[in-house]
Amino acid sequence: MAIRIIEENCTGCAVCVRACPFSAIKMENDKAVILDNCTLCGSCADACKFDAIDFQAERGTGMGDLSSYRDVWVFAEQKDGVIDSAAFELLGVGRHLADQLGQDLAAILIGNKVRPLAQQLIAYGADKVYWLDHADLERFNDELYADNLSHLIERYRPNIVLLAATVYGRSLGPRVAARIGTGLTADCTGLEIEADTRNLMQTRPAFGGNLMATIICPDHRPQMATVRPRVMKPLEPDSERSGRILRQQAQLKQDLKTRVLQVVEEAGEIVNLLEADIIVSGGRGLGDPKNFALIEELAQTLGGAVGASRAAVDAGWIPYSHQVGQTGKTVGPKVYFACGISGAVQHLAGMSSSDIIVAINKDPDAPIFKVATYGIVGDVLEILPLITKEFKKALGK
């Protein structure tokens, strides 16, 4: 084991017990004992004031010389010839990182007849666009996209590769990272360059947003991350910006193992939760599934989307596709209305990055009020129609 307690130095102060993020140390006869669930994070050794914890991080050797890896890459997800707004956000944060490193920002554009999109990526901050075009690449396909992105990474050796933490990005990223044999940090909400080491510091929520962790990938390249949509800010597009568009040979194969047969968009009936500027969500406090009509009416008035808490979904009041929270969708609208939602940590994890949160709940102690910008303590069934009415009046609807 790479960690052990040096008993003669241990004073039994138990500082290490408190420092352990995993409850993996206990005190036995006034000496610390490391338990099985230790993850070798080293927090205890840092905390011990008596040199009583011998910790040797037996880290792997990594990839050796990393200096030849250059540039910040952004995978520019597109669908039906439209770039996902998250790609522009990646270019925004990517530009900042590239400038700090004094390296180029490149966008990876894969699709069919998507050449016109390249200029848009440059306007949003890319210095270069690696562009792959083929009929077979029209739609996202895990296998083909993984082959092509991996191939480009192996050929050009980027320093950093960012993908949006969308369903596709979170499927493609780990596949490519495993093929390259490098690290990948999921669903980041903060990215910075560390001044001394020039490593990418990747900050992400864990445990349903209860804890934030900052993660580095010191000995492997590229440093890969998926980035939570609607957290980073895109740059103002500048159509005068210039950049290079570099066409790449697509890697194709005949014997594909996976094929997308049909694409069904369900967003037509409901405004997409992930893209909506306004979300009105309902929870168990609505009391009855039919009261979701009040939620829908406000959402419709504001051109927003309908969300729901897990409790409302579990009760069968509304389909799972509306669920916001740790086990549902993570959203970040400009305004989020939480109506009759108490605010379990799992729900907060999915919506707390919203710009403005309005909470309506009859319980003044409900946790939702801790994250709310505006709180109304009262009966949601009474107040919600009044709010809708006020908006209708103000908006002339």
């Binding site: 093929r179 999921a186 910008t373």
Partner: protein, 264 residues
Amino acid sequence: MNIIVCIKQVPATNDVKINKDTNTLVRDEAQSVINPFDTYAVEEGVRLKEATGGKVTVISMGIPKVADILKECIAVGADEGILLSDRAFAGADTLATSAALAAGINKIGQYDIIICGKQAIDGDTGQVGPGLAERLGIPHITCIRKIEEIKEGYIRAQRMTDFGYEVIECSLPAVITVVKEINEPRLPSIKGMMKAKKAVIPVWTADDIGADKDKIGLRGSPTKVIKTFTPEININTEIIDGTPEEQAHKLVEKLLQLQIKVPV
């Protein structure tokens, strides 16, 4: 059909509390459960077995105590459980975890389909499933909400996307990850509980599965946590008082000042 289900032990999240002084989780070892998403994976595996015949093997990497959770899977219909447990696995990130699972699954040998939950609720990464598929050199499909058809060497399924869903066909063997919508997990039966009680869970070490020590545990993990902290939350909540009419009026006035564009 030989079905393998990968599961993870996670802290029972309702009990997660943060020690504000040390910014660490207050976790009681006793309060650990199977990752909720993995219960759908186990259920789907058992349903596939019931429909097509075969065997469900549940595998996990973790501390010795995880054997109890593997037994719970047997109680709801799995045939056997295998635990990968060794100090050499400790400190694994998602890449190293997928390497260990791949080595364990290669030792099991025969499989048609490997089912994982969409993500674990402690790390929330969702990276092990696709990473595992890559290590095994087989395709994967994430976020499956319905299996439409499955037969020898073939699966057709609905994958949830950010916009709706897509129907994907894929050759087997493959790794799939499943979302909550796919099924409703059953409760253990009396017979199942009896079987679970008697079950012996084999524990395989890194040597047992011939794992490359440079690819597992801390050594095999490119990523490293350098800091943890409690997120700051907005505490300047403005409570709007008054009669319901006044509350509604004041709120709407404040929100209109933000000048958010409302689609017409």
